[in-house]
């Protein structure tokens, strides 16, 4: 009986331990993950992409620092069209503005690549600007939809 109790206790501890282990890929702490953390967790090629600055973001999109609290903007240096934009807007109005800017940017990229860079055009055609609460994401890439899902989860 004692042995059975000990085995049952061990099994319970194992189950409890497994339940409390963090989900694979999810942030380990309880604090909300930064966009940079989320992007690094979901975009396997993040380390090989160019990280654009706030000045670049303003040039490319028109978003100014007052529009957001945080952003990540990664782009490829090749002709593949790969890029990932994630912005936590300052408020709802800003989120609307940023989403509009991202839409205009996507439209512009489609025009530039239409008869010029077929691989990039294909990826851009499959991409969508998505918004959840204050977070706007445009993920262009073979796993763009999954990346956007991951980044927007919990936003």
């Amino acid at each position: 009986m004692k042995r059975i109790m000990l085995l049952l206790l061990a099994a319970m501890l194992l189950v409890l331990g497994a339940c409390s282990a963090p989900e694979k890929g999810a942030p380990v702490s309880d604090a909300p993950a930064t966009l940079a953390e989320k992007v690094n967790m979901t975009a396997e090629d993040a380390g090989n992409l160019a990280a654009l600055t706030a000045e670049d973001l303003e040039d490319v999109l028109g978003a100014v620092p007052a529009d957001y609290t945080e952003f990540v903007f990664l782009q490829s240096e090749g002709m593949d069209g790969r890029e990932l934009l994630a912005v936590r807007a300052a408020d709802r109005d800003a989120a609307g503005r940023v989403a509009g800017m991202a839409e205009a940017y996507l439209e512009r990229r489609l025009k530039e690549t239409r008869n010029y860079a077929p691989e990039a055009y294909k990826l851009l055609s499959e991409a969508k600007v998505r918004t959840k609460n204050l977070t706007v994401v445009l993920a262009v890439g073979p796993n763009g939809a999954k990346e956007a899902d991951f980044i927007l989860a919990g936003e």
Binding site: A51, E58, G62, E77, G78, T113, N115, Y116
Partner: protein, 263 residues
């Protein structure tokens, strides 16, 4: 007699001085290679403008800068896929929403508009493959004249540099390869007649036949990959070194570390 000896001695001294000056100059001309971070400063307060090639160069530089903030810190690249040279010759943006144009602060822009806002020390331009400008030299002639005229009127303190077109791979025709080489020769001659500089950035980008090796391209056509941009950037640094050796550029002394000052 004594006066004669003195005069002869003076003459000998003057003769030696005259002979040694060119020797000194020749020695001085063979300057040591400046450190890369000093050569990169040649491009401080500069814009690099062009098409997809320059857009990709901008991202190559950003990626390098992500790891080393001192990598061409003073350069801003503005490039758009499909951009044509004629767009750089416009003062104001084309109101046609379908026109492919540069973007600045989220809006369509021209080279002139960006330069007026940024007031750069230098503007480097590499463009022309998209409009096959190498097959229409008369158009290039016209566009370049307009670009120079716009600079003279709206941002006259800025130095203009026209870069040679980058080569293409054997996927293209021999005719195009030769036309691009001929265009670059024409561009060099053109820059000699106007207030602009020509930059040959093709060194190391071709094989013996003049084709760009596909191994340094992203698309086996004309776009450089990271290996290709390594060479391209080396050419930028070589150009800065040449300007220094010719006495056409003086680096900021503060950037020269003690003990590395070239002879």
């Amino acid at each position: 007699m004594r006066n004669g000896r003195r005069a002869a001695g003076l003459l000998c001294f003057l003769l030696c001085l005259c002979i040694s000056c060119p020797v000194w100059n020749a020695c001085a001309g063979a300057a040591e290679r400046l450190p890369d971070r000093v050569l990169m400063s040649f491009y401080d307060q500069s814009l690099i403008i062009g098409d997809s090639q320059m857009r990709n160069l901008g991202n190559y530089m950003r990626r390098k800068r992500n790891g080393d903030p001192g990598f061409f810190p003073g350069v801003r690249c503005y490039g758009e896929y499909s951009l044509q040279m004629r767009r750089l010759a416009q003062k104001d943006p084309d109101p046609n929403p379908d026109a492919i144009q540069l973007t600045y602060k989220g809006r369509t822009a021209t080279l002139t508009g960006i330069a007026m806002a940024e007031n750069p020390r230098n503007v480097f331009i590499l463009i022309g493959l998209n409009d096959l400008i190498f097959q229409h030299i008369d158009r290039a002639d016209n566009y370049i004249d307009r670009i120079v005229a716009l600079r003279d009127e709206y941002f006259p303190e800025t130095s203009l540099f026209f870069m040679s077109l980058t080569p293409v791979t054997a996927k293209r025709t021999q005719k195009q390869r030769d036309e691009i080489a001929a265009y670059n020769a024409w561009l060099e001659e053109k820059c000699g007649k106007i207030r602009a500089e020509y930059m040959d950035i093709t060194a190391g980008l071709t094989d013996e036949q003049g084709w760009m090796p596909k191994e340094i391209t992203a698309d086996n056509d004309s776009h450089l990959n990271a290996d290709g941009f390594d060479i391209f950037v080396r050419n930028l640094l070589d150009y800065a070194q040449a300007r220094y050796e010719q006495g056409l550029w003086v680096p900021d002394p503060a950037l020269m570390k003690e003990g590395e000052t070239p002879q």
